[in-house]
């Protein structure tokens, strides 16, 4: 039957009373309420209605690749997964009337990872895979829903599936695009002995900004760009018969074609380069330029980073802050993920901090003592949003206490000026005075080590709070050796101290995710305002605290919450599926928070982490609830682990 026939057919049957009844039923729920009538009628006509008695299995991993799409007409479907630690099973999700499953498995053409059981007597509409695919192709609404469903937790998802689906289904490309797909044309190459004149001529003919010198196996030896040409001309080297190897940048930086556009943007920003070679099996297979990325996203990330690093005065940096805000806005609009955005904000903030330090040193004169600028908290974890406090300190090397005091005397005025300049740039001064200008945070390595050891030895509430800020430390500017030693010290001491771990675990349970036993949000009402929940404290903090504890207890030297989860999975500390679910949940809450901030900025509202779940759409609300449920699961796993 042709497509047109199928629809005429569906159009006819749509008059049938029962089809009509089912249509009206589905129209009470997204995405069906937004689908075209003909598409919906087609869906219903292809459906079967199936009954599952309580406890009956609907689909399970052993069934092999999923063959049907299900919509719950009545009843409740629960996901059950074998519990690795405790034995037995645990319920990972619930699906009720009007909701669908299993999207990820269906799109990924694989078996479901979780057994779906009828939690009570349940009727499901069942759509066969062929009809699902057809609808997926025809209905934009349905496709969007299916893909968003995948990125949601409704189905213990892996992001790969979504990315792949987005690629193959030709939806708008993003920073996740493979570099191999961006570098369409063959790279322009020459041999290292080619004369400069010849090389430049080649570049001109091919209209490119770079040429790569390669050996006989096509392995890249060096890169020569228009910027290098400018140098050559400016330095007045007249001889254009020189071999290019004398002027090229040797051993150029490269990535594989499988890296993402995001990876390239980050590499360019970090390394101040405008071209990235693509190398596969040691052979050059492409070059991606800054401009390729621009044309992709118009994200002038690289440009912005470079402007920050070359700013001549603090006032210039202040102006650039506004541009960071616009950049984030654009990236959100282009569908960048929260992880990418927080990563980029952190990167640009790092550049700003570095530049402020360099400018201050130029202004006040070099104190003649090497020091490292530390950051803590969200900045230390590389999870900053636009609205961020200063949490920083200074680390230096000293022979003894007297020497340390002497150095501190020299560094403090500089540190205070840096703090003030950063405040001008939009990094709010820390209310708790966790700043390098505070004498208690401008310490020698021995002093820091003593301080951290005390945190671990005497687990008072203040010390626990301190550890949750300071133990996420990293170096933004200066030598990294001393900080690495401090971090190793922390890992060794926490790993040995079961009591401290237990206290940290208790601490990690302080902020309870606001979901009740019975599927609804538990909200706080403040002075008669609308009931809301705090995305940061009630949503993200449980993940951050849990990840920190488990990382420190298991010798994992990563700061970033998602990176910690990944390494915990690699070390078999947490289950792979749990890790993926936590990551996904964390990701979604952060994304919601960023969107919230953007919305507040646009409406000139004071910025806040509180959200009213009713203001979210049906789907987002549900995903948020499931995300918070994952936070709850992480906390209950800590309870078991530390017998609290």
């Amino acid at each position: 039957m042709s497509k047109a026939d199928a629809f005429t057919q569906a159009g006819k049957t749509a008059v049938l009373q029962n089809i009509q009844g089912t249509l009206q039923f589905l129209q009470r729920f997204p995405p069906f309420n937004q689908m075209e009538h003909a598409h919906l009628a087609y869906l219903v006509e292809q459906c079967q209605l199936r009954f599952y008695g309580q406890g009956e299995s609907i689909i399970k991993p052993a069934d092999g690749p999923v063959e049907h799409f299900y919509i719950v007409k009545q009843g409740r479907v629960v996901g059950e997964r074998p519990h690795t630690a405790k034995g037995g099973t645990e319920t990972t999700f619930e699906i009720t009337t009007g909701e669908c499953f299993p999207l990820a498995a269906l799109l990924g053409e694989r078996a479901t990872r979780t057994e779906h059981l009828a939690g009570e007597d349940t009727f499901c509409l069942q759509l066969n895979k062929l009809a699902f695919i057809k609808l997926f192709a025809l209905s934009n609404t349905f496709r969007d829903f299916a893909l968003r469903g995948v990125s949601s937790l409704l189905d213990q998802v892996n992001q790969q599936v979504q990315q792949k689906a987005v690629e193959t289904l030709g939806t708008q490309y993003s920073l996740n695009t493979r570099l191999g797909e961006l570098a369409m044309r063959h790279p322009v190459t020459c041999s290292p002995t080619t004369a400069l004149r010849e090389a430049v001529k080649l570049m001109h003919e091919q209209q490119v900004g770079s040429i790569v010198a390669v050996d006989e196996h096509k392995a890249p030896l060096g890169i020569f760009t228009l910027r290098d040409l400018r140098h050559v001309v400016a330095e007045g080297i007249g001889d254009f018969n020189d071999p290019i190897e004398r002027h090229m940048t040797p051993s150029p930086f490269y990535l594989s074609p499988d890296h993402s556009a995001f990876d390239a943007a980050i590499a360019m920003t970090e390394r101040h380069i405008a071209h990235v070679c693509l190398v596969k099996e040691q052979r050059l297979c492409g070059v991606v330029s800054e401009r390729d990325l621009f044309s992709l996203q118009r994200v002038d990330l690289v440009h912005l980073a470079r402007t920050i690093r070359s700013a001549q005065r603090v006032e210039q940096l202040v102006n650039l802050r506004g541009e960071i805000g616009q950049l984030v806005e654009r990236m959100l609009a282009h569908g960048a993920s929260s992880t990418q955005i927080t990563h980029i904000i952190t990167l640009l903030n790092d550049h700003t901090v570095c530049r402020v330090i360099e400018l201050t040193l130029a202004d006040k004169g070099d104190p003649g003592v090497p020091f490292s600028w530390l950051c803590f908290g969200s900045e230390g974890r590389r999870e900053q949003t636009l609205h961020t406090d200063q949490d920083n300190g200074i680390l230096f090397e000293a022979r003894d206490a007297a020497h340390a005091a002497e150095i501190r005397g020299k560094l403090l005025p500089i540190a205070q000026q840096i703090n003030n300049s950063l405040a001008q740039c939009g990094f709010t001064l820390c209310k708790g005075n966790v700043m390098a200008g505070n004498p208690q945070l401008c310490l020698s390595r021995a002093e820091w080590a003593r301080r951290f050891a005390a945190f671990i030895r005497e687990a008072t509430p203040e010390n626990l709070l301190g550890s949750s800020i300071y133990f996420d430390l990293r170096v933004v500017w200066g030598d990294e050796q001393g900080c690495a030693q401090l971090r190793r010290g922390i890992l060794d001491q926490v790993g040995d101290n079961r009591l401290f771990q237990r206290m940290m675990a208790e601490n990690a349970l302080r902020n309870r995710p606001p979901v009740g036993r019975f599927r609804e949000f538990v909200l706080t009402k403040k002075n008669g305002e609308k009931a809301t929940l705090d995305l940061k404290i009630q949503g993200l903090t449980p993940f951050v605290d849990g990840a920190r504890l488990l990382a420190l207890a298991n010798g994992i030297d990563a700061n970033n919450t998602l990176e910690r989860f990944r390494q915990l999975v690699n070390k078999d500390v947490i289950d792979r599926l749990d890790g993926a679910a936590y990551e996904e949940a964390y990701h979604f809450i952060q994304q919601t928070r960023l969107q919230q901030h953007q919305l507040q900025t646009r409406e000139n509202l004071p910025y806040s982490n509180r959200v009213d779940p009713d203001s979210l759409n049906h789907l987002d609300r549900r995903i948020l609830r499931e995300s918070l449920r994952q936070a709850q699961r992480l906390q209950s796993s800590l309870t078991v682990r530390y017998q609290l």
Binding site: L16, N18, G21, Q24, Q48, L49, Y52, D121, Q126
Partner: protein, 235 residues
């Protein structure tokens, strides 16, 4: 020979194509030992002008199919029958079929052949099946001169058989729908009632399997045992 038979119209004269289609209908067999899931079932509901088995007429027919253990939305049957001599009666208020709808309906002989083809040799489920079987049988005879041979099973009997704990006496379809807390769409036309009956049947089949009733034949046997027992009880 019945004394009054000459008063009735002779066997209806059928158009050739209808006659041909009747001839091609599959042979109806007894219920088999296949599993409940393997059996294709037709679930039927009729709207009639009233409850009098001998006088009232079929107004509309709704039917759905249970195949492979599920209600298949791709196979549905829905016809309103033309009926010239219909007087507006109070039952219009129940079935909601006004004279206009009925005048616009299908030619009965054609609709009934359609139904026979739709049913094939599948057994039929209905709530209070003997009523539907009788009414439909009469209509078939009258319009087609055809004998309705399909096996009918009564959902109103299956329900108390597999759910003895329900203790609802003389329960109607609505009672069972409430008992199982079924969310049904708008009711009271033949199709919707057929669908509701089919949903009920799915639940009942699931319960039947738990009671080791696995095949349609098995179900039929258990039903007649149960009915005999009920009768001995009541006398």
């Amino acid at each position: 020979m019945n004394l009054f038979s000459w008063l009735r119209p002779a066997s209806p004269v059928l158009a050739d194509d209808l006659q041909r289609r009747l001839g091609k209908l599959p042979v109806i067999r007894d219920l088999s030992e296949c599993s409940l899931r393997e059996q294709r079932w037709v679930v039927l509901d009729l709207e009639t002008t009233g409850l009098n088995l001998n006088k009232d007429r079929v107004l509309s027919i709704g039917a759905v199919v249970i195949e492979d253990g599920a209600i298949d939305f791709g196979q549905q049957f829905e016809r309103t029958l033309q009926c010239r001599e219909l007087k507006v009666s109070p039952s219009v208020l129940i079935h909601g079929l006004g004279p206009n709808a009925i005048a616009a309906g299908s030619e009965p002989a054609e609709a009934l052949v359609d139904l026979l083809e739709f049913m094939g040799n599948s057994p039929v489920l209905a709530f209070h099946a003997p009523f539907d079987q009788h009414m439909l049988g009469r209509a078939m005879k009258e319009h087609l001169g055809h004998k309705l041979q399909q096996v009918f099973l009564d959902v109103a009997d299956i329900a108390p058989l597999v759910c003895p704990q329900a203790h609802i006496r003389e329960a109607g379809l609505d009672d069972w729908i409430n008992w199982f807390r079924l969310d049904v769409f708008e009711r009271h036309h033949a199709s919707a009632d057929a669908l509701a009956t089919a949903e009920l049947a799915l639940i009942l089949f699931s319960r039947a399997r738990q009671q080791q009733i696995h095949s349609p034949l098995n179900l039929q046997q258990r039903l007649s045992q149960w009915k005999r027992r009920q009768q001995t009880h009541s006398f």
